[in-house]
Each structure stands twice: as structure tokens, then as C-alpha cells.
């Protein structure tokens, strides 16, 4: 029987992979993909708690829907910014983008 802890461990592993991607990627699109992985880990957590702790109302699943919506908005705006950066810097490696450092 797959219990709550299995889902939590799965989402922890997924979240850590996402954090690792955010820390080590040089490509801005890769960083956005890692952020999507982290959103998915959080969603697994929400749905797992909704199934195992409050199975009669669907609050966790509704919150997961809101998270998916915000993730879509974030991906849109993030990719627009990436395109703008590409146009200005002729590249999207984030370690070349340092005009806000002093």
C-alpha cells in the first residue's frame, strides 16, 4: 500500500532536483524548467495531503489548480523576459547577465 510518506518523499526528491537545476543551470530557459519541476513537486504535496488528510473536501486539489494557473502565468512572463534578454544580450546564459551588479 502506497502511503502518504511515499508521495511526500517523491515530491521532496522532485523539489530537490528542481533546486539543483536552478542553482546549476546557465541557460535561463533551463532555470524556468527547473522552476516548473518545483511547482509540480508542490502540487504533488497538495494533492497527497488532500487525499490522505482531508479526503472529503477538495481544498488541496483546488489550491493545486490555482498553483498550476499561476505557474502558467509565470512561465509566460518568464519566457517573454528571456526573449527580451536574448534580443539585448545575444545570448541567454545567466552568468553573462550582470548589468545589475555593481
Amino acid at each position: 500500500m502506497v502511503g502518504l510518506n511515499h508521495y511526500l518523499v517523491l515530491s521532496t526528491i522532485l523539489f530537490c532536483i528542481g533546486i539543483f537545476g536552478v542553482l546549476t543551470r546557465r541557460n535561463a530557459i533551463g532555470i524556468l524548467m527547473s522552476i516548473e519541476l518545483m511547482f509540480n513537486a508542490v502540487n504533488i504535496n497538495f494533492v497527497a495531503f488532500s487525499k490522505f488528510v482531508t479526503p472529503t473536501d477538495f481544498v488541496g486539489q483546488i489550491f493545486a489548480i490555482f498553483v498550476i494557473t499561476i505557474a502558467a502565468a509565470e512561465a509566460t512572463v518568464g519566457l517573454a523576459i528571456v526573449l527580451l534578454i536574448y534580443r539585448n544580450f545575444k545570448g541567454i546564459n545567466v552568468d553573462n547577465i550582470n548589468i545589475m551588479k555593481w
Partner: protein, 143 residues
């Protein structure tokens, strides 16, 4: 795979695979509506958006460019520490489990709740989506 491959395009394809797997997890958790939403939005929309962005920023997805920076080993250490700490904590926590069975299907329940109790966040989220859409167009527009 998503975070370690050299070719960013292959990463996007593995991201699709990962999203399908997560949709399977939702089905296992008896959240069929969320599984459908996951496939539609993540696989159908977000990944296509990513692939569009990769194509538009072409010449970068040849495999010769080093894709990761020099923070790999500190990153690995930090992430491993976080993983161990989190799993240790959640294996020692006693959750208040409940074994009742929902009397309605998850899609029915979500639909009813979204249009009664949670109608205000629902509308706010749609406004946020519209704002993001307009903002993305304005940001990416050529002057």
C-alpha cells in the same frame, strides 16, 4: 535528466515525460480532474511555450555549450543536505491521517467548490492570467 542533459531541447522533451508521470501520480491519488488539467496545461501549453522559446533563441541549443556553471558541487551538497533533512523530518512527523472516502467524484466536488465557496479566488486568478498575458505581449514586443 531535465537538469543535467547538455542539449536543452532534450531537456524539454524529458520535461514532457516527467509531466506525464506526475499526471499518473495524480490519477493514483484519485484526482482525475487534476491529471487532465496537468496534461492539458503543462504538456500542452507550457512545454510548447518552452520549445518555442528554445527555437526562438536558436544557436544556443547546439550541444557544445557548457550548460552548467561551476556551482555543481556546492549545489549538490546543499541539495543533498536539504533532501536528507526533509526526509528525516517527515519520517518523524505523525500526520493526522483520515481514512474516510469522498462521497462524490473529485471533478464534481472541485466544480461545485470552485463556483460556490472559492468563486472569488477563481475570478482573481483569471484576472491574473489576463494580466500576465498582456504583460508578456508588452514585454516581448519590438519597439
Amino acid at each position: 535528466m531535465v537538469v543535467s542533459l547538455k542539449n536543452i531541447f532534450h531537456c524539454a522533451l524529458f520535461l514532457v515525460l516527467c509531466f506525464f508521470g506526475i499526471a499518473g501520480v495524480y490519477i493514483l491519488l484519485s484526482a482525475e480532474f487534476l491529471a487532465a488539467v496537468q496534461v492539458l496545461i503543462y504538456v500542452g501549453a507550457i512545454t510548447i511555450l518552452m520549445i518555442f522559446a528554445i527555437m526562438l533563441t536558436a544557436k544556443l541549443y547546439n550541444a557544445k555549450i557548457r550548460q552548467s556553471n561551476e556551482q555543481i558541487f556546492p549545489g549538490l551538497i546543499i541539495v543533498a543536505a536539504l533532501l536528507v533533512a526533509t526526509i528525516f523530518t517527515l519520517s518523524r512527523t505523525a500526520w493526522k491521517l483520515s481514512y474516510e472516502v469522498a462521497e462524490v467524484q473529485s471533478t464534481v466536488g472541485i466544480g461545485k467548490l470552485l463556483l460556490t465557496k472559492y468563486v472569488l479566488p477563481f475570478e482573481v486568478v483569471s484576472v491574473v492570467l489576463l494580466t500576465a498575458l498582456i504583460g508578456a505581449i508588452i514585454i516581448a514586443r519590438r519597439e
